[in-house]
């Protein structure tokens, strides 16, 4: 059909979905939605691929046999024998948990105090600068912390390690957890390095939570004659306790997975659970970093993927719990 000669046909652009699509609106929407899917796809793919890579070893030795022994001796692995499993990972799980626990015990009170100080006590013009400086702790790369840890921290911890061994180490029952001698490379040193690394993360989240507590509560407490410390406790700390828990678990998530710094100061002892925190050990992440490119024994590489799979499971669980708690606090 052609337009009649001499008659101006106004160009009316068709309206509605079709044009908006052709004009890029719909395509744009699809594109951004697709990009958002990458995050979810990545997480799901991680679980699947690690499981697939570790599958041969899991089938050969049994799914749970990795979790029931604490001896990692790849040189004893053969292609045929399936029992006992030479790739026990209990000691790595223990190492991950104990170093993270030490880090939490040291870092949480300090991080909460720092956040409380910055948000409620520090002179106003210092607050921004202090926040930036604490954040700077998080900017230092892991490998630098590890290197610094070997040469600066290990010698500095020597008197503390010796003190722990000669006091707590002599106490019955719990003494075994602190028995010496202390040579440097240890769960304890790894825990201290982790504490420094997770401190800025916990402090940053706490700072945000403390900043969102109701100003009216602070004013009410002040009007009632509360001292500055009492105001901070009643109107800031107490209502934020859930959030502090969430922040701590976020820090825990980071501590559980931290690799390079831990690998450099923990000593990488893989043959059993070392009961003393002053002794050497290994974590789930450190054994992967240490042995991955040299995994030549039968099922060695697959067993490392099994370690990675369980590490991923632990990290997912911890992070999901932490995010739920932080979100619940934010919604208050």
């Amino acid at each position: 059909m052609t337009a009649q000669a001499g008659v101006d046909v106004p160009v009316v652009r068709p309206q509605g979905r079709a044009t908006r699509w052709l004009g890029g609106d719909g395509a744009f929407r699809v594109a951004v939605t697709a990009c958002s899917a990458v995050v979810l796809v990545t997480i799901v793919a991680m679980v699947i691929f690690l499981l697939v890579q570790g599958f041969d070893a899991m089938r050969h030795y049994g799914f749970f046999s990795f979790l029931t022994t604490a001896r990692w001796a790849p040189s004893e692995a053969t292609a045929t024998s399936s029992s006992p499993n030479p790739y026990g990972i209990l000691q790595f799980i223990y190492g991950t948990l104990i170093t993270s626990l030490i880090a939490m015990i040291l870092a949480v009170p300090v991080a909460v105090s720092v956040a409380l100080y910055i948000t409620n006590f520090a002179p106003l013009r210092l607050r921004r600068g202090l926040s930036s400086l604490v954040d700077l702790l998080a900017a230092v790369p892991s490998v630098v912390y590890g290197f610094w840890g070997i040469f600066a921290l290990l010698p500095a911890l020597k008197p503390i390690g010796g003190f722990l061994a000669s006091t707590l180490g002599k106490v019955p029952v719990i003494g075994v957890a602190f028995s010496g001698p202390y040579f440097g490379y240890s769960y304890f040193a790894a825990g201290v390095v982790l504490a420094i690394m997770v401190l800025p993360i916990i402090a940053a989240v706490c700072r945000e939570i403390f900043a969102t507590t109701a100003g009216s509560w602070k004013e009410a407490a002040t009007a009632l004659g509360a001292t500055r410390w009492e105001v901070a406790m009643v109107a800031v700390y107490r209502p934020s306790r859930t959030g502090i828990l969430g922040a701590s678990i976020l820090g825990l998530g980071r501590a559980l997975g931290e690799t390079i710094a831990v690998t450099m100061v923990i000593g990488n002892y893989v043959l059993s659970i070392n009961k003393s925190i002053l002794g050497q050990g290994a974590t789930m992440s450190s054994v992967i970093a240490n042995e991955f490119t040299e995994a030549v024994e039968p099922f060695h590489l697959q067993a490392l993927f099994v370690v990675g799979f369980w590490l991923l499971v632990v990290a997912l669980v911890v992070n999901i719990i932490a995010r739920r708690i932080v979100a619940a606090q934010a919604a208050l």
Partner: protein
């Protein structure tokens, strides 16, 4: 004064003392944390400057790790290439995903994406490395590009989160004005909202790049390292600054450790410059204060 008044005053004095003591305690903790920061930075600076020579930036490590001298030129180049490619992958993906979350996302899907973005931030990077090994390295071998993939996964959630926050800070009146003038939603987002949030977004990007620069664990399983010669082809195994610091730090040779200190100083300097530059952009941001 009655005895009651004296008692009250005594109690108030006790509370004031407690407050003062607690404040002092907090100041001590704060100073302690700053002291640790100073200890780390100064230690690296002192060790690094005593080991740093001009040739460090232009020469490769000696073939024999116990030999003195040499530098991390190939690692510095490798870091730039690997992180650069990672940024090329992660930045567009991250910004587009953030646009979805901030401008389109409603309901369960977008909640899930936002939630799992935060979860992905907490995934150990060594696991990310193992994942990239299983999807890429097994088929195509160790390569700088595999390292880029791993670092892109590390950077992506960081970029998504900060960009989403920055986009959400742009006032709705800007969007409404644009739409009222007849602009499509795509135009509104790309021409109005994105530019308004740009300084804040750049801050987030720089922090993500700084984070990727320092990552070591995932690169052990992907880029692997290559100390022998300068490799500029990301299809081949490649050294990075962080990998060379790690290898030389645990080498057990004084000469290797000296190179590692020089490398650590270089890496910290790069990261700090990026961090401070990011803060500079953040301060220039109109919407994010």
């Amino acid at each position: 004064m009655t005895s009651l008044a004296i008692e009250i005053e005594a109690y108030a004095a006790k509370r004031r003392r407690r407050s003062a003591a607690a404040t002092t305690g907090l100041v001590i903790v704060m100073v302690g944390v700053l002291a640790v920061l100073a200890w780390v930075l100064l230690y690296v600076a002192v060790q690094g400057f005593s080991a740093l020579t001009p040739s460090f930036f232009v020469s490769n490590p000696p073939g024999n790790p116990s030999a003195v001298g040499g530098g991390f030129a190939n690692g510095i180049l490798g870091s730039l290439i690997v992180v650069g490619l990672a940024a090329l992958i992660a930045i567009p993906l991250g910004i587009l995903a953030a646009i979805y979350l901030a401008e389109y996302g409603r309901g369960r899907w977008s909640n899930a994406v936002g939630f799992f973005t935060d979860v992905l931030i907490g995934i150990p990077t060594i696991v990310t490395g193992a994942f990239v090994y299983s999807v890429w390295v097994i088929h195509f071998g160790f390569s700088g590009f595999a390292g880029s993939l791993a670092l892109a996964i590390v950077m992506l959630p960081l970029i998504v989160r900060t960009t989403t926050q920055m986009l959400k800070l742009v006032p709705d009146s800007l969007r409404e004005a644009s739409l009222a003038l007849g602009a499509s939603k795509r135009k509104t987002v790309t021409r109005i909202v994105l530019p308004a949030a740009l300084p804040g977004i750049i801050t987030g990007l720089m922090l993500a790049v700084a984070r990727a620069m320092g990552e070591t664990a995932p690169l052990l399983l992907t880029a692997l390292g290559n100390d022998l010669f300068t490799e500029a082809n990301p299809g081949k195994r490649m050294s990075t600054l962080s990998l060379q610091i790690f290898d030389n730090a645990i080498s057990g040779f004084k000469s290797g450790q000296a190179r590692a200190w020089a490398g650590a100083l270089t890496l910290v300097a790069i990261v700090l410059v990026l961090t401070f530059a990011a803060r500079f952009f953040a301060r220039r941001s109109r919407v994010a204060q």
